[in-house]
Symmetry: C2
Subunit: 162 residues, 2 copies
DNA sequence: CAGAGCATGTAAAGTGTTACATGATTTA
DNA sequence: TAAATCATGTAACACTTTACATGCTCTG
């Protein structure tokens, strides 16, 4: 199971049934650049999950517009739970573009480094403000809170170390 | 430029010239599950970078064993610097398998949640100890330090929230 | 009622993974 | 000297991105 497939299953578990485009929109709304949410990734993944019996589709056309509502099957729920409970994958460091670039920042010429430091600080502060402006009742509120901690950690590192 | 290509360029910038396998071994040693470091990803990426003129290869065969030494060209260094200084990409949240799974953990049955909490706590504590055991003179020491902060943040969240 | 955006996809090309292959060198 | 592992790849398959296509529905 890819991370995208796992993420789709958790989305349907957390938020209940939705259409294919609803799934796609949820990824489009995600701030992470990791999720491009391109149609060519989402729709084939949904088809794979449906063919594997993890998702059940029921017709939900409204008027002339065709649509299908997707929900987790029992085996889909079981697969999702197995996936989320895999500790070694869950605690891996994942992918952090900030951590990947930081060692090079340290080696920049002083004036270039200072300029970049200011840009990074502004960007992170803005991002924290944007998170604070989000609806605390949003289904992704917990993820936003976790991203906020990450951004605060970065801000502290920028100020103290860069 | 993909993140893998950018990471290869930063590696050669930080550590100087090395062979193809040296590049691959650096990714194999990385703790992040994001870098599979499969030969089928690394070697084609190196070929692309060389064809684009960002890397220069010189023969470095030893005895009967063929090998080439790879180093950054001037345009390779310029591309790498442009890549690391892209602020909006650098401050994106990236991909965090922990954050992706956390909302589901919260919804588990109490006894299941408690068991998982213990497993996660043990795993993260072990990972922190493993980082502490690493050589502080390692070229990736800064990245290790940043991962350590991430793991400490997770540990605190596990203890306080999960 | 025309244009913007909603909703659902497909096709080609690029990238990554898994598995295999080959010969060189080190180590027990 | 046999086995392990170093070092360098390739091939088939899977997945993602980019670009395109199609018709519907709302809004000014």
């Amino acid at each position: 199971m890819t991370e995208l497939e796992g993420a789709i299953l958790t989305l349907l578990y957390m938020e209940g049934a939705m259409t294919s485009y609803g799934v796609r929109r949820a990824f489009l709304d995600s701030p992470s650049s990791f999720w491009s949410a391109s149609a060519g990734a989402i729709y084939p993944a949904l088809r794979r999950l449906e063919e594997a019996g993890l998702l059940i589709a029921t017709d939900a056309s409204r008027g002339n517009r065709p649509a299908k509502s997707l929900r987790l099957s029992e085996s889909g729920k079981a697969s999702m739970l197995e996936w989320v409970k895999n500790v070694s994958t869950a605690i891996g460091p994942g992918f952090d573009p900030f951590r990947l670039r930081a060692p090079v920042w340290i080696k920049l010429e002083p004036e270039e480094r200072k300029a970049l430091k200011a840009e990074l600080e502004t960007g992170v502060v803005e991002r924290i403000r944007a998170i604070d402006a989000l609806d605390p009742g949003h289904p992704d509120a917990l993820r936003h809170a976790l991203e906020r901690v990450q951004q605060e950690t970065r801000l502290e590192w920028i100020r103290k170390t860069l």
